[in-house]
Symmetry: C2
Subunit: 373 residues, 2 copies
C-alpha cells in the first residue's frame, strides 16, 4: 500500500491524497459505504460505481459468522465473492463483538461471545481476527481493538487502551498476507492523555494507516469533534487517517478539516432505507405527507438514478406501500450525496478554499431541522 | 393504437407483430412484468430496460386504493409517476376485487367490497373502472370483467359471461380518453360454448384488442391450455390477443403457438423474490445448500447484471441472510430470462421454425424438477 498526500489546504489541516491499494487507487478524503455482509443493501456493484463509490467496507464479524471466512476464501475471496473489484476494507470484528454480542468474557487473550446465529461459544482474539481477515482478503485489514462504550470511566478507558496496544502488536506479528495493508486503531475514550499515549505507541509500530476508534458509540457531537481534533494531528502525517463509524455531513467536514482522510458510516444507507434522504438543505423524511404531491426530484442538482427518474411524490408512494424500490432509491441518492460531498471537499482543498466551502455548506445545511421546503 | 402482424409461422398459429401505442412500439409476442403498485418490485425503470422490458402492467385496483387515481393524474399520470416512458397497460381491477377483497355483493351495477386499507365500503362498476384507468392514463386499459374462480359451475360461468359482456359494452360507452386503447376480456370458464359466445359477442363490439381471462385462477395446466387453444382462434386475427396472468415458460410457448401475442405474470418477479431462478434447464432454488460453494453464475449464457457480476454462492449467501439484493438480482435475472425467451420465440417465428424451437426448449427445460445441476 502507498499513500501520497497531494494537496494541503492553506488554512486548515485538510488534505487530499491518493491511496494505492492492491485493487486500485482511491482519492482521499474518501467515504466508504458499509457493506456489512459483503453487500451494500439493495445495490449492485454497478449501482455503487454509479453512485461514486470507490471503496467498500465489509464486516469481518458478520462474514465470520456466516458464510465463514473459509468459504469466502474458497470461492475466491471477498472481492470476487461480492462482485466488487475495487478497494475494500474490513473491520476486525471488535466493534461488533462489543456492541452486538452477549459478552461472556474479555481477557488479554481476546473475547468469548455467543454466536447470535446458533448460540455457540466463540472466541475472537488478535490471531483469529487476522486469520479471518487474511482469509477474506480485503485490501485493508484492521487490528482487533477493545472499544468501550460511552460513557466509560478513566480506568476502563486506560484498560482498553492497554489491551488495544497489546492486541495491535499481536495482530501485526501474525499478519502475513502480501498486498494487504494493516491499520492500527487509537482508543482512549474522551481522555486526551490516553488518546495521546495510544497514538504515540501505535505510531512506533509503524502501521500502514491509523484509525481513530471509540467514537460513534453514543458520545455527544462536541466530544467526538474534540477527540477527533485532538487525536488526528498526533497521527503520522504521511499515513492515511481513518475516523471509524463517522458520520453525518457536518461531522465529515469537521474531521476533514482536522486532517482525516477516510470515513465509513451506516448513516446514508440505513437512514435511506428508513425513508430519510440527505439534501443540501438538510434531511428529508420522504414519508411525510407534505411530499405526497411533490413532483420535484429529491434534489434538483443531483444526477443519481432516483433524481433522474423519480419524483418525491413517487418515493412517498413507494415508502407508504413498503415497496422495496424506496429503500434502494434513497440508498442510491444518499450515497451519491455523500460521495459528491467528498468530491467537492477534495476540490475545495486543492483550490485552497476548504474552510469557506465548509462554512457555506454548514450555513445552508440544517442537520437537525428535517423536511426543509 | 395500431397492430400489425409481421410474420406468421408456417406450421402453427404463432405470429410476430408490432403494437404501436401512444408511448412507443412493442414487438409481439411480448411479456409484461407486473408492476402492481406502479413498481416492478426493487427495479428502477433503467433496470427494467436493461432486462429487456418494453411494456409494463400496473394494477388499477391497487393504485385506486392508494395513492388514488386523482393523485396519479395530478402528478402527471402513470408514466410520469412511475418514471417509465414506455408502453403500459392497467388491468381494470376486476380480478383483484374478486380474488383479494372480502366480497360484499356483485350485481349488474358492479362490485361492492371493503377496502383492505381502511375497511371503507367501495364500489367498482364499469363506469368507475374506466374513470380510474382514464385518470391513470396507461396506453391500454382493460374492461371490467367478472372473473369466477376455478372450479365454477356452468351456471356461474354463464352468469359471469353475461355480466362481462354487459360491462364490456358499458366500459366501451364510457371510454373517451384519446390515445388510450381498450381491450375486451373473454370469460367462460372451461366451457367451450360459453367461451365461443363471449368471444363472438366481444368481437362484434370491435375492441382494440382481446384478452383471454378467467385463466390462472387455479385450473390444471391442461385445462388452461385447452381453453387457450380453443379461444385464441376465435378472436379477430388482426387484433392483439392477450392471455392474462399466464404464465410459466412452457405455458407461454404453448400459447404463442395458438396465436397469443401478449402476456403478463407475477411468476418471474414473485418467484425471484422467493429465491427461485429460471434457467434453460429448469428452475433453481438458490437457497439450496448445493449452491453454497457454486462459483458459476445462474446461467452461463446470460448477460444480466446478476450473471455478469455474481456467483450462485453469493446469491445463496444473500438469500440466507435475507439481504435485499438477493430478490433484486433474481428479479433481474428472471425478467431477462422471460424477455430473452420472447425474443427467441419471435426470431423462431420469423424464420418459420417455431415448433422445433418450442420442442427443443421444452426438451431441455424441466419445469417441475427443481435444482438441475
Amino acid at each position: 500500500m502507498q499513500f501520497k498526500v497531494h494537496a494541503q489546504d492553506g488554512s486548515t489541516a485538510a488534505r487530499t491524497g491518493r491511496l494505492s491499494l492492491s485493487s486500485g487507487e482511491v482519492e482521499t478524503p474518501v467515504f466508504m459505504p458499509v457493506g456489512t455482509r459483503a453487500t451494500v443493501k439493495g445495490l449492485t456493484s454497478e449501482d455503487l460505481r454509479e453512485c461514486g463509490t470507490r471503496m467498500v467496507l465489509a464486516n469481518a464479524y458478520h462474514l465470520a459468522l456466516r458464510p465463514g471466512p473459509e468459504l469466502v476464501a474458497e470461492v475466491g475471496g471477498l472481492h470476487s465473492f461480492m462482485g466488487w473489484d475495487g478497494p475494500t476494507l474490513t473491520d476486525s470484528g471488535g466493534y461488533q463483538v462489543f456492541s452486538l454480542s452477549e459478552l461472556n468474557d474479555v481477557s488479554d487473550e481476546g473475547v468469548e461471545f455467543r454466536s447470535p446465529i446458533d448460540g455457540a461459544l466463540m472466541h475472537l482474539g488478535p490471531e483469529e481476527a487476522i486469520r479471518i481477515q487474511e482469509l477474506l482478503g480485503p485490501d485493508i485489514a484492521m487490528v482487533l481493538d477493545e472499544c468501550p462504550p460511552y460513557p466509560c470511566s478513566r480506568d476502563e478507558a486506560r484498560s482498553a487502551v492497554e489491551r488495544t496496544l497489546k492486541w495491535a502488536e499481536e495482530c501485526q506479528a501474525h499478519h502475513e498476507r502480501n498486498g494487504q495493508a494493516l491499520f492500527g486503531i487509537v482508543q482512549g475514550g474522551v481522555y486526551e492523555d490516553l488518546r495521546a499515549l495510544c497514538a504515540e505507541r501505535l505510531s512506533e509500530l509503524n502501521f500502514d494507516g491509523y484509525a481513530i476508534g471509540g467514537v460513534s458509540v453514543g458520545e455527544p457531537d462536541d466530544e467526538r469533534q474534540r477527540m477527533t481534533a485532538f487525536t488526528a494531528p498526533l497521527l503520522p502525517p504521511d499515513k492515511p487517517r481513518y475516523l471509524m463509524g463517522v458520520g453525518f455531513p457536518v461531522d465529515l467536514l469537521h474531521a476533514i478539516e482536522q486532517g482525516v482522510d477516510m470515513f465509513d458510516c451506516v448513516a446514508p444507507t440505513r437512514m435511506g432505507r428508513n425513508a430519510t434522504a440527505f439534501t443540501r438543505k438538510g434531511r428529508i423524511r420522504i414519508r411525510n405527507s407534505c411530499f405526497k404531491r411533490d413532483t420535484r426530484s429529491l434534489e434538483e442538482t443531483c444526477d443519481c438514478a432516483s433524481c433522474r427518474l423519480y419524483s418525491r411524490a413517487y418515493l412517498n408512494h413507494l415508502f407508504r406501500n413498503d415497496e422495496m424500490l424506496g429503500p434502494v432509491l434513497l440508498t442510491i441518492h444518499n450515497l451519491t450525496f455523500y460521495h459528491g460531498l467528498m468530491s467537492e471537499a477534495r476540490n475545495a482543498i486543492k483550490e485552497g478554499r476548504f474552510e469557506s466551502f465548509r462554512q457555506q455548506f454548514v450555513s445552508v445545511y440544517s442537520g437537525r431541522k428535517e423536511d426543509p421546503q
